[in-house]
């Protein structure tokens, strides 16, 4: 690694601090500047007694000026203390997140794995046989995949596979079915729906990246040396074609996490996405704040790692 690259990496690492602080300010401002009184979530709908509401506001610290609320909040956040939820029986936010995290991780990992497993071979074949039937189908499929709203795909798959054909369950498992295989089939539909748009983006990307690399001199050289076509494709071309993929995977993570909200809602998947949706509807500020902040921070860190990985993987990349 050159000294200039090392300096870049250090700068990139340090930049994370102001970005994270900025994130907390943006998230806090967004949620607290919106109209709507979270204190109302506490009092039963019939009895909106202004005195009780005022007392609730006081107990929650909502009567303090915003900057004071921010400082109190941030000093807790720094210790990973996100307080207790207003609703959800007053469970500590961190516990709520711990409960829901595994389900989301399973869903996200499976969707990401599926997208990669399908898009890389498909992209390679599309590039190797440009304008062939496979390539044209993949291109058309990618277009359709990006134009179809994922909640509609979810409904249509439910209609076709679960309701009409009865092959798969339409929703999530009850607590009684806990064995691995029985649970696996509940995963199929949500994972497909979540993976589709990402899969479309990845396939397009692998294809165009491959097409670019295949034309380069060193690939022609490899071929001229008499190497077999698979060796040229997989050992020489593919390696370089997949490097920029690191960045695309990074940007798609945000999309996958956002998509989880809709997909988990439709399939009643007990993950962070449905937690986000419920807490937003209930104006449960501590939960919304924690979730937005943690996802944002996660993505900022991933983006940083992507940049770092890029400099490590591709020696041609150098920075001022």
């Amino acid at each position: 690694m050159t000294p200039s690259n090392r300096r870049y990496l250090l700068r990139r690492l340090l930049l994370l601090v102001p970005l994270l602080v900025g994130l907390t300010i943006v998230v806090f401002a967004l949620i607290h500047l919106a109209p709507g009184d979270p204190a109302l979530a506490f009092v039963s709908e019939g009895s909106i007694d202004p005195q009780i509401v005022a007392q609730v506001r006081k107990n929650l610290g909502l009567d303090q000026p915003l900057p004071v609320q921010y400082v109190i909040w941030i000093s807790h956040v720094a210790r990973l203390d996100f307080g207790t939820a207003y609703t959800f029986n007053g469970t500590p936010v961190i516990e709520l997140i711990e409960q829901r995290l595994p389900a989301t991780l399973v869903l996200q990992t499976a969707a990401l794995a599926l997208s990669l497993a399908v898009s890389i071979p498909l992209g390679i074949v599309s590039a190797k046989k440009q304008y062939s039937a496979i390539d044209n189908t993949a291109t058309a499929g990618a277009f359709l995949g990006l134009a179809l709203p994922n909640f509609w795909i979810a409904l249509m798959l439910q209609l076709l596979l679960a309701v009409s054909l009865g092959w798969l369950p339409a929703s999530t498992p009850g607590t009684d079915e806990t064995t691995g295989i029985a649970r696996l089939k509940y995963l199929v539909l949500p994972v497909i729906v979540l993976a589709l748009p990402t899969l479309a983006v990845f396939t397009r990307f692998v294809r165009s990246s491959m097409l670019e690399v295949i034309k380069q001199d060193y690939v022609t050289t490899a071929r001229a040396k008499g190497l077999s076509e698979p060796t040229v494709t997989y050992r020489h071309a593919l390696k370089n074609a997949l490097i920029p993929m690191v960045t695309v995977v990074g940007t798609q993570l945000a999309r996958l996490l956002g998509g989880a909200v809709v997909v988990e809602y439709i399939f009643a998947w007990p993950g962070l996405g449905s937690l986000a949706y419920e807490s937003i509807l209930k104006r449960d500020y501590p939960v919304v704040l924690a979730l937005t902040l943690l996802t944002g921070a996660f993505i900022l860190v991933v983006n940083m790692l992507v940049d770092v990985a890029y400099t490590l993987v591709d020696p041609r990349v150098s920075f001022r």
């Binding site: 930049l15 102001p18 970005l19 900025g22 994130l23 943006v26 998230v27 967004l30 949620i31 919106a34 109209p35 709507g36 277009f143 359709l144 990006l146 134009a147 179809l148 709203p149 909640f151 509609w152 409904l155 249509m156 439910q158 209609l159 309701v163 397009r204 294809r207 165009s208 097409l211 945000a254 999309r255 996490l257 956002g258 998509g259 909200v261 809709v262 809602y265 986000a276 949706y277 937003i280 509807l281 104006r283 919304v288 979730l291 937005t292 996802t295 944002g296 921070a297 993505i299 900022l300 983006n303």
Partner: protein, 299 residues
């Protein structure tokens, strides 16, 4: 862009045969893409249908047909009827007004904010540029759907909220692209020449840098029309879009979901409408990109 053109002092001679031939070149490149042309025709038709919807719809979208809940498609009700006995075809037609107008207004906002901030960052450089770009990094780190749902729910859901919220959460990629375009053109000879001749900063931005970015802006705006409509239908589906009685495709899907097993027409037709609209804007956007901006060409 329109304003820039209007503010030019002596436009008559300048925009004569020269600009004309460039336009014709672009049109020739665009029209070679049959799919994009077909999609453009579909978009014109969709807007026509949306404008005329109230008068050509066979029934009022609120009208009940007593005793005919969940009737399958027939000559009388092309797309069947919903649980509340209303004509699904009429509702799909009228709902197009919501999606198409949300698309237009949101994209105006996206383009307005994106181009202003992108141009500011690209032209000013230095600390301003750094601040704007880092702000974009932060906003982009929060999944958009997350931001969208939170904003839509915290403010009262309505047609206007939907438009504003989509606009405010979608401008980042446009800003980045415009900035990139500014940085690229800023060091080109014709801009250096203009600067050497003593042209003031605002003149360089408006007459040299911005026109060079027009292609990128048009392509982005067209593509965002399709994304904005997708986002609107998602919000409507979650019950956070325009509220009843205003019909929207997303809300119709959410309604139809309840009776999905008995009445497929309630979920299939509004979904097809979203799909066709989004696909048409996507295809036109892609065609425009190939015609206007060969460097960005998607192979």
């Amino acid at each position: 862009m329109i304003e820039v053109a209007a503010s030019r002092p002596a436009p008559v001679l300048r925009t004569g045969s020269h600009g004309d031939s460039q336009l014709r070149q672009i049109w020739r490149a665009f029209s070679r893409n049959r799919l994009a042309v077909a999609a453009a025709v579909v978009i014109v038709l969709l807007y026509g249908l949306a404008v005329l919807a109230p008068s050509i719809a066979p029934q009022d979208y609120r009208a009940f047909n007593a005793g005919q809940p969940l009737k399958p498609p027939s000559a009388e009700h092309w797309f069947g009827t919903d649980r509340q006995t209303r004509d699904v075809f009429s509702r799909v037609l009228v709902a197009s007004q919501v999606s198409l107008s949300v698309g237009l207004v949101s994209v105006l906002l996206i383009t307005g904010i994106g181009v202003s901030l992108g141009a500011l960052a690209g032209a000013a450089g230095g600390g301003v540029d750094e601040a704007i770009m880092r702000f974009i990094d932060i906003v982009l780190a929060i999944p958009q759907l997350f931001l969208l749902i939170a904003a839509a729910a915290l403010f009262t859901p309505s047609l206007v909220t939907t438009m504003v919220v989509i606009g405010l959460t979608s401008w980042m990629s446009t800003a980045r692209l415009v900035r990139g375009e500014f940085l690229r053109t800023r060091s080109l000879d014709f801009v250096l020449a203009a600067r050497a001749l003593g042209a003031p900063g605002h003149r360089i931005v408006l007459r040299h840098l911005l026109p060079s970015a027009v292609a990128v802006i048009i392509v982005q705006s067209t593509l965002w029309l399709s994304f904005a409509i997708l986002l609107e239908s998602t919000l409507s589906f979650l019950g956070l879009g325009p509220q009843p009685p205003t019909p929207s495709w997303g809300a119709m899907l959410a309604d139809g979901r309840v009776d999905m097993q008995r009445a497929w027409w309630e979920t299939v037709f509004p979904g097809m409408a979203i799909f066709i609209t989004v696909l048409a804007f996507n295809l036109v956007g892609d065609g425009l990109r190939d015609a206007l901006d060969p460097r960005q060409r998607s192979r």
